[in-house]
Structures are given as C-alpha cells and as structure tokens.
Symmetry: C2
DNA sequence: TGCGCTCATGTTGCATCCACCATAGATGCA
DNA sequence: TGCATCTATGGTGGATGCAACATGAGCGCA
C-alpha cells in the first residue's frame, strides 16, 4: 500500500469512526507526523477527501472536517431512497441468489445488537443494503450509493450511539424486507424499501 | 486561480473537448511543461480526475485517459434515466418558474444546430436537462447528475460528430418536453423524460 | 483603558530533488 | 539465429525546501 493510500485510509476511517469529529481542523503537518509519512501523501489524501465532500479545504488555513448540514442530510436520504427503490424494483423477477447474503447480514446484525457494537451493527446494515443495490448490476449506481452511505456514517457517528429501541426497529424492518423478498410481491418489497429509508430519514432528522 | 486548478481545468477540458482522446497516455512531466507549472499540481489534478473516473493511473507508468466501456455507458444512461425520471416527477405540482430557462436553452439549441456547433449544442442540451434536475432542489443528486454528464461527454465527443438528423430529433424531443411541461400531465412528462433518455441510450449503444 | 499596528508563528502551495521501478533495446552466449 | 540477461531511460512516489499568506499576540500610543 502506498503512503498516499495509508494517509487516505487513516483520515477517512478516523472521520467515519468518529475519532476525528466534524468541526475539527486538521493540518497536513500534524497528520503527516501522526501517520509517519511526509506532507505530500497527506495532502493528496485530503484532496481526495475534499472531492468526496468529507473535508473542506481552506487555503493557507487547514482542512475542516465537515458534517452534513440538516439540508444535506435530507438530500442524502432522498438520494438513497431513489436508488434503493430502483434497486428493489430490479430484484424482480425474483433474484433468489441474493437471499443467502442478506440472511447472513441479518444474522450478523442480530448478533451485534446483542453485543451492542453500534458501529459494526451499522456496517452490517449497510452491507445488507449494498447487497440489494449491487443486485441491480450497475456499478455506477453502486458507487454513488456507497458514497452516500459514507457521508451518512458521519451523521450517524454523531447521532446514534447505541440506541437499543432503534436498533430493534431496524432489525425488525430488515427481517420484514427479507421476508417480502422471499414470499412477497414486487410492489410490497419496493414499498417496504421506500418506507425503510423514510424511517431512517426521520431518525436522522429528529436529532 | 491556483496552479493546481489550472492543471485540472487544462486536462479536464482537454479530455471533454476531445483534444486528449481516450486511449492516450499522459505523463505528469509533459503536462507540467505544457501548462507551465511543476509536476506537483499536475499530479494533484490527475488524482482528482482519477477520482472522477476520467483517467486511470498506472503506478510508475502514467495516466491513461479512459473512455467509458459499453457496459459503463449503459450504466451511465440508466443512472441518468433514474435521476431524470425522479426530477421530472418533482416538477409537479407544476413548476412554471423553470420554463423561461428551459425555453432559452431550447432556442440556443435551435441556433446552434443551424451553425452546426456540435459541442455547444451538446452543452445546451445538458444545460436544459440540468435545469430540470436542479428543480428537484437536491444538490447531492444534482452533483451526481452533473458527474454523469461529464462522463457521457467523453462518449459523445468520440461518437456524435455533427449528425444533423440526430440533432433534429433531439431538438424535437426537447420541444416536446417543454410543451408537456407547459400543458401536459405529470405522467406524460415523466414518461417523455424517460423515453428521451432511452433514446439517447440507443444512440450511444449503436455505435 | 482601548485601539491600531507590527511581527512572530503556523500553514499551505508549489518547486525541486532523489530513490525506486518498469520497460525496451542492446549485448553476450549457446 | 534465438534466448536470456543486462543496462539505459523515462516515469512515478515521496521527501524536503522555500516563499507567500493568514492569524493572533504583544506593544505603543492616545
């Protein structure tokens, strides 16, 4: 792995994990020292992250880690809903081959809820949805979706710290989705996907 | 404008205008000399372009300007259709405020078809659609749409060099869209948007 | 005390330098 | 002649140096 990749991973995972919370100013020099590389690869990493909207670069001042505004949050969820609804429709005629993976992620979520590992739970949630989106077989859309989820994590990392009732509700909804995929109709499944995302909007919006 | 931005603009417009056709290898050194800056900002520009999917960086070898594969082309148009259909639906209840801008772009297209400036025609086409997408008031989606169009230009720049019948057909379709927006129904307009993009898929696919 | 100015410090933006690597063409040997 | 190997060249990846700029602390003056 190149030094540039290392810097990128370091900063990005730091942001996504909440170690570098939104609002903090990071500087190339400090990060470079921290990671053990020179400023050049750090600079490249920050540019990439700026392109992704994770940080905002202020000339001669530094990089500000940004959280999505309430407005952007709404927009992200609307975009998610659009893609997930599309993907749900693509699952018909029924794509039974996706079911094992979905079940695996579901089981994982159930386990993680017990142990209370919120960030891993959220990762499993994401993986579940990515299976559905990827089933649409459109890598352009999959990439856009993945990016939306990255952005969303920053919100969630700040908001949802181990909220059992919400996790329970989420788990129930995912179970329902899988159930509908196995034995429901296309329109039922599409609507459930839509409602699932809309529910998440509410969660992110109310706090 | 910073040297980095200058390099970025230079390379990107070069690719979009077809001056740097897909398949060519560019090197940091040569570009740097050409633009009149050092390799550092050029390198940053290439990294940004790689993130956008415009070039592919091969370690120790150089940067390859890539055209979308037929597969990616299909995917781009599918994503476009998804967004445009959504945006079309967002235009109801009727957003009359978008009409003047749409009409202006339409007139521009008519003029440009006469003068035969294909790339400007294509830019006006894009602007027309961006008005509709932007009317959805979702900057996240607008950005994704804009990116899709950037990618699409690379295809078009290689394919559609001044094809009058196609331009005529395109112009007619845009007129129809505007007409439906003014005095059609929501479902008519949405369907027409969908069909318009599907028509474009055919164009890109058949060559 | 309060205001404006200067300067010290921290940070970026960019140029330059060096080491490593990939590759192609030359070279030597069978 | 044909093949393996060696080497010269061109390219990137990364480190470092330097100038320009933003900012805030400290100081002088009214």
């Amino acid at each position: 792995m190149s030094a540039s990749d290392k810097a990128y991973e370091h900063v990005k995972t730091g942001i996504l994990a909440g170690d570098i919370p939104p609002g903090t100013f990071v500087t190339e020099g400090r990060l470079a020292e921290e990671i053990g590389v020179s400023r050049t690869p750090v600079r490249e990493a920050l540019l990439r992250l700026q392109a992704e909207g994770m940080v905002e670069l202020f000339p001669k001042k530094g990089a500000l880690v940004t959280a999505p505004t309430p407005r952007e949050t709404q927009e992200i969820f609307e975009a998610r809903a659009l893609i997930e609804e599309w993907a749900a429709a693509q699952m018909w005629p029924r794509r039974a081959d996706a079911i094992p993976a979905l079940r695996a992620h579901l089981d994982e979520m159930a386990d993680l809820m017990r142990t209370g590992d919120v960030s891993a739970f959220s990762a499993a949630d994401r993986a579940f949805h990515e299976v559905i989106v990827d089933a649409g077989s459109n890598s352009v859309i999959s990439r856009q979706y993945s990016h939306l989820r990255d952005r969303q994590i920053v919100i969630v990392a700040g908001n949802l710290r181990g909220d059992k009732p919400r996790m329970t509700a989420s788990l129930r909804q995912h179970r329902e989705l899988l159930h509908l995929l196995e034995s429901g109709t296309k329109s039922q499944f599409v609507r459930a996907c839509r409602e699932h995302v809309d529910y998440a909007v509410g969660l992110a919006g109310t706090r």
